[in-house]
Amino acid sequence: MADFLSFSHISKTYPGVKALSDVSFGVGKGSVHGLIGENGAGKSTLIRILSGDTAADDGEISVDGVAQHFGSTRDAFAAGVVVVHQELQLVPELTVAENLRLGRFPNRAGVIDFRSLKDEVNRRLKEIGLTVDADTKVSRLSLGERQMIEIAKAIMLDARVIALDEPTSSLSSQESEVLFRLIGELRAAGKVIIYISHRLDEIFRLCDGCTVLRDGKLAAHHPMMSDVTRESLVAEMVGREISDIWGWRGRPAGEVRLKVEAMSGARLPRPIDFEARAGEILGFFGLVGSGRSELMRLVYGADPRRSGKVSIDGVESSGTNPRRSIREGLVLCSEDRKFDGIVQGLSVAENIVISARRHFSPFGLLSLRREADTAADFIKQLRIRTPSAKQDIVNLSGGNQQKVLLARWLAESGVKVLIVDEPTRGIDVGAKAEIYELLYHLAEKGLAIVVVSSELPEVMGISDRVIVMCEGRIAARYERAEFNEHAILASALPDRTAGEPNKKAS
């Protein structure tokens, strides 16, 4: 069978980096094809070429046997190729209908025909099984619903090839289910779906075949998933065998280092108490929207509190803003690296020393030498892969950016409590293992570490103790000996008793 979508000999070089070299593979009609690889393996570049966002230096893409030369995303749309990016491209203040037909409004002499717009959109939404009204503003939708709207957009463009980049990274499990069902329908309708994800279980569940990229080259191409195992895929991704990526090792817990009492804020009205001990890794698990990140931001002083106090080593903290918390030894690596983690435009080195430099800047004057030494030290110690310390941080892969953010706090001398929100979101397997190792090492040094994660295997894999949150309160606490996947997940799910099948996921 001839492939409907095929890549042949695609190469792309960025200054200093060979992002893709000679990548060729094809995907048949009516199939879901996984595209996996570590960060920096070339997936994003391949997708950007497919979307028409950037041009390949060499090679070509053909759709339905016709060679394509995409000069822009518009060209790609015209050929029926649509990419749904990880960062959604919707205008929050416009309605669903307006977003879906943005740039192609039905109009008479420039006056928008809102009636036909609304009717058409409602009909299409119904077709794909979405219970969202066309008149709703996008800003009022949940992340999951927005993701579906993006896909609806692709469908309305009569896309024949739809590429989904990490579609479930910010979805709850119910929302993911809805997405998977829709993907199934699209496949049945003969579309080609390119599915990019770090979550291998999703790849196995959804995909008919998959392609593994490594260091910009084609590492493996599997037209069918039958001959593939999870272990073999991971091995192909990293080029080496990884047996146990968690590598958990226990250590005795010491005194209580962090004590949080009656913490509440605008988005977390019910007061919450918890504590973390020296040498302990305390996992916080909960679904998206359960209030985990909100709680941590309150503890750190990033958002205004309604009530609550934080004590570090038995001393009440005055930390009502991040600056004070840092001075008292409480630091937070936030959930969303791009939004409030990295400082775009500054170098890797500057991102590392942004906080710690006050220790070695007498009278506010920089010590360039100390800064360079500190940065070089951490780049080496954490094996941050960057061409130079002066590289703009946006050019680094997600895993390396995350290491830079951890280095930022390691460079601070007096850290006692480290809170890490989603330490490995969007990060490849190899870098994950390195980050876990770093956390163990810090715990062994006596820090209290709080890890927030929406990935249950991760929480169970690395934590000594787990607190489960659900709908803004603590639902359960587990010691490592009591860890049980089903029990933890069950306590994280809202409405365990009341079974309302029609309840809208939010």
Partner: protein, 315 residues
């Protein structure tokens, strides 16, 4: 050809263009490259040069200040009136510096603490402060009683007028602050990502207040020198200065989206605007055309910057 392209689109492209433009003007415009004209040129850019120093910080931190022209006029006014009233130039200068600093502080406090958009805030203070200048002088120029006040602008050191020295000194100071101080790096960090900077422990509110306060102080310096040069307090002085200063910064590669700034670029930007005006004066081109030319220069510079960024594969 490829060499030329690389030269123009490289990091130092603006400097190269500046050198070429300078050479061309020197050859083709008579009496351009004379000591007298050079000093005149530098003196003509003193106000915009001084104000651009702190405007650069403002833009680099993703903010905006439209009130600079009004502050320059107002503080010039204050310097003259306070000197006349007290009979002491020193008191006049202190009063002017204090007023400039105060307006800047108010700008910063409103923007940082009340979270009002900088564009709106300074648009408001621009009109308020201009109004104060007009009210206090009843809309008329106020002459200086003590001729000692002229000496601020007329005095020379090593044959070069004091205002030029002050401008150069401020270029050095703010270049140093931008590159070598925590304050400067934090400014760029805030411009790059304000929320990330806050979570990393940068005192974002405090920084913004300082940036605007210093801007006010520096505007007062420019206002005093301007009043001294034109030998009076003019309530309508320095109109449009805010846009010239922003133009100079943008010409010099400062990003309006924040996070990118360089003192050398801003200096070159200031000089390019100065040379264009000076050359046209020497060629007896009507002053109205200068607006046109300045606008075109600005557009070309931004286009060049855009071509350069895309050429480097940046977005």
């Amino acid at each position: 050809m490829a060499f030329l392209k690389r030269l123009l689109l490289g990091e130092q492209g603006l400097l190269v263009i500046f050198v070429i433009a300078f050479a061309v003007v020197s050859v083709f415009v008579p009496s351009f490259l004379t000591e007298r004209n050079m000093l005149g040129l530098f003196q003509s850019v003193v106000t915009i040069g001084i104000v651009s120093c702190t405007m650069m910080f403002c833009l680099a931190s993703r903010d905006f200040d439209l009130s600079v022209g009004s502050i320059v006029a107002f503080t010039g006014m204050v310097a003259v009136m306070a000197s006349n009233a007290s009979g002491s130039i020193v008191i006049g200068l202190i009063a002017a510096l204090a007023c400039g600093t105060f307006v800047g502080f108010v700008n910063g406090a409103i923007i940082a603490k009340l979270k009002i958009n900088a564009l709106i805030t300074t648009l408001a203070t621009m009109q308020i402060v201009r109004g104060l200048a007009l009210i206090s002088s009843d809309g008329r120029a106020v002459g200086i009683n003590d001729p000692g006040f002229y000496q601020l602008a007329l005095s020379r050191f090593l044959g070069i007028p004091t205002p030029i020295w002050i401008m150069v000194a401020l270029f050095c100071v703010f270049g140093f602050v931008l590159n070598r101080s925590v304050f400067g790096r934090n400014t760029l960090a805030i411009g790059g990502n304000p929320e990330a900077s806050r979570l990393a422990g940068v005192n974002v509110d405090g920084m913004r207040i300082w940036i605007f306060t210093i801007q006010g102080l520096v505007c007062a310096v420019a206002g005093i020198l301007l009043a001294s040069r034109i030998t009076s307090g003019q309530p309508n002085a320095a109109t449009g200065l805010e846009l010239s200063a922003i133009s100079a910064c943008v010409l010099g590669g400062v990003s309006l989206a924040g996070g990118r700034a360089a003192m050398t670029g801003v200096i070159v930007g200031v000089l390019i605007l100065g040379i264009a005006e000076n050359a046209m004066n020497l060629l007896n081109i009507q002053a109205f055309y200068q607006y046109l030319v300045r606008g075109l220069i600005l557009l070309l510079a931004v286009l060049l910057d855009n071509v350069r960024s895309t050429g480097l594969g940046r977005k």
